[in-house]
Amino acid sequence: MIGYYFSLAMRSLRGTPILSALMVAAIAVGVGASMTVLTLNYMMSQNALSHKDEVLFAVQLDSWDPNASYRGDSNLTRMPWELTYRDAQALLRSDTPSRQVAMHRWGATVTVDDSEMRPFIGQTRVTTRDFFALFDVDFLHGGTWEKNADSNPAQQVVITRKTNEKLFGGENSVGETINMDGHPFTVIGVIENWNPVPKVHDLNNGAFDDSEAFYIPFGLHRKLEIFSWGNTNSWKHEEDLEGFEGFLQSESVWIQYWVELHTDEQKQRFENFLTSYIQEQKAQGRFERPLKFGLTQPSEWLVVNEVLRDDNRVLGWLSLAFLLVCVVNAVALLLAKFLRKAPEAGVRRALGASRNAIFTQHLIESVCIGILGGLMGILLSMFGLSAVKSLAMGFADRIAQMDWLMMLSAVGLAVVASLLAGLYPAWRISRTSPSIYLKTQ
């Protein structure tokens, strides 16, 4: 029976090509616009660390100015996103977390001796050895550096597969040397390309930027005088601190910090450790604000960092309202179309079709419109996404793309929209009394 209804529906759509095309277009444009926006919002809300969401925590300590807000507004309770270098060093001494990572973004000119390659600026992450294990980054060759290199200078570097292809043609390059800002570094590992979108582990420096190509140990700051290429925020003027060492000891925050804690008991112990650390520092005159720290899971971290911005949410609501207009439009047009075919329905009723049968038949006709509209909607939203991609000038390259799930959702959304649109018209036509139409025939 359903098959018969489908063939009836297709015949009826062909019968009124202009009206049908209008309805398909209305659904397609509505679905196309909302799927463009929803796809962007969906891609921006992805959590690449969802498989470790229960055990990873971003660490914040409230070391900020007691008299001024972190963001220059009036909210004095907001903690800085990052830690000071000295706090990061102190936290690294704790052996409670299973793994912990202190890190920041950096960059250096990269050259390889006896190579024709043009020097370029290598995006680099300065981090502790646990980085790869904590974020589940797989090694192709070699491995991470020794624990020792997190506190003492060791000019070793881990590179990505892509960088390895660029520099060494994809050969196992462990043991090779590259120069960063003129300093020789030994390659000790090659990792699989790892490029989460959004860049959940570092949301301060462009949440949709590419991950770094080079990874170097955390023990190099003093030797190379490494300043962060990410945000560095300071609030306190400390006259007695001079030079790079002064910067390292200052209240400037610039280190991102993650820990891996597997049990509640472990988390409790780490919280106790943080509490007593802050109390200890308070006794020395630091941490002048009320005692506060933050341990935030990746999913929550994405929310508090406002990766999905208000603009995106506004567009989300507007596009849904847009779809609603398209549905109302389709209701009006379907009503017109069905009522025009009322004599046909009258005849079917007279020949014994039940009200339900008439209702189902017309609902199926609107579903057909929905499916057609959905398929066209996918094309439209792909067009919309590529337009957004070019408008955003590179900021949206990695989020403006549809996956299978979103394509299925597009058709799903279209079918739901057309079902909603078809409900009233189909009900209305199923209520028509057959006698009127039989008389006029």
Binding site: A68, N179, R340, L391, M393
Partner: protein
């Protein structure tokens, strides 16, 4: 003479369809009105004067390949070279404004204060700074060569004079007499005299809440965060950019050089706002189009349904224009209902957006303008079918359907 009563009673028989069109128009007005205020706000934001010669400025940076590179020496040699280049009007080493990267500071009007700072963005530069950025000095003087210090980033060097923007001057000294006054960093007693005031400079972050509060210090700073700011003669920037790339590499090949047009960087900074403008405009125009199509579709349908009645009316002596007028009036009544509904919906939607997402408030004037435009579109959509209806021949009345 308006035949309102028959129209009303006819509409009543098609109340659902008529209501659907009205609801569509209403929702459209709600969306279009709210989209319009956002578009307006963004366009105004992007069009703000920046205070610098955006369209003439080329920026350049380098990163040395060798370790222990003498950056200050490189600045001197590069700038001497750059200032000789054809098409270059002025050049300095500072940091490019309007790009989203820079540094900020807190300033006080009395020594040894720690609470209640006035926030501002800070730049360093030599005596060519104002000229190179193309800023306009409104009071006091520019820096002179004697004012300039070569300083290292972490040396603890403190300036003794500054140039500020008019906006920062007004914020610091509400009485309007900033020139010659001293300002201080947090917790310090080192006075920094304001020697000059420039008209405007939006600073590194044009979208931040205190964009435009900017302070300039007389120094050539030894830091990796620098840009050569090179102002080209009007129309020469592409040539200057190309020349810069060549000559900087030629003077010292042991470095990675990046040359950009300031306008490109500003466009990138505003890319998000620009996307918002374009997407919203797209939504608004598609929506209007869809609604117009819906009105055309439904009017055509009604007219086909009422062919016989139209024929009867014509046969009874109604003129062509009376028939057209009938359908246009009918459309007008539906549109009016829709717009009344829509004005309310627009306000409700706007309250929601404003409270949840800090969007601008929707003034009634904007709603009114959008409503008028929708009114026009609705009438235009009904016009063609209505005129065609007038062509229905009175003979129609005599034929059975």
């Amino acid at each position: 003479m308006l035949e309102l009563r028959p129209i009303l009673s006819a509409l009543w028989r098609h109340k659902i369809s008529a209501l659907l069109i009205a609801v569509q128009l209403g929702l459209t007005l709600a969306i279009v009105g709210n989209a319009t205020v956002v578009i307006q706000e963004r366009i105004e934001r992007i069009a703000r004067p920046t205070g610098v010669a955006v369209t003439d400025i080329v920026t350049a940076q380098f990163m040395p390949i060798a370790k222990n590179y003498d950056r200050l020496e490189a600045f001197r040699l590069d700038l001497d070279m750059i200032r000789q280049l054809p098409g270059v009007a002025a050049a300095t080493v500072s940091r490019a404004p309007l790009t989203g990267g820079g540094s900020g500071t807190g300033l006080y009007t009395a020594p040894n204060q720690e609470i209640g700072a006035t926030g501002g963005a800070q730049f360093w530069g030599d005596e060519h700074l104002i000229d190179a950025l193309g800023m306009k000095l409104v009071a006091g003087r520019a820096f002179t060569p004697n004012d300039i210090t070569e300083a290292s980033f972490s040396s603890g060097w403190r300036p003794n004079m500054a140039i500020v923007t008019q906006q920062l001057a007004d914020k610091l000294f509400a009485n309007g007499e900033a020139l010659g006054q001293s300002i201080y960093f947090s917790g310090e007693d080192n006075p920094i005299e304001i020697v000059g005031i420039v008209e405007r400079n939006l600073g590194p972050w044009p979208n931040s809440h205190n964009a435009g509060s900017t302070v300039f210090f007389p120094a050539v700073m030894d830091t990796q965060w620098f840009d050569y700011v090179v102002r080209a003669e009007p129309g020469q920037r592409e040539a200057v950019a190309k020349l810069l790339e060549e000559k900087l590499a030629e003077r010292d090949p042991q470095r990675v050089v990046a040359v950009n047009l300031l306008e490109d960087k500003l466009d990138r900074y505003y890319a998000g706002d620009n996307t918002m403008i374009q997407v919203l405009s797209g939504v608004v125009s598609m929506l209007t189009f869809i609604v117009a199509l819906g009105i055309v579709g439904l009017t055509v349908f009604w007219i086909t349904q009422r062919q016989k009645q139209i024929g009867v009316r014509r046969a009874l002596g109604a003129s062509r224009s009376a028939i057209s007028r009938y359908f246009l009036l009918e459309n007008l009544m539906i549109a009016t209902t829709g717009i009344v509904l829509g004005t309310a919906a627009a306000q409700i939607f706007n309250r929601f957006l404003a409270s949840e997402f800090e969007q601008p408030a929707l003034p009634l004037s904007t709603t009114a303008i959008c409503a008028l435009i929708l009114f026009g579109i609705s009438l235009a959509a009904a016009l063609v079918p209505a005129l065609r209806a007038a062509n229905i021949s009175p003979a129609m009345a005599t034929r059975s359907v």
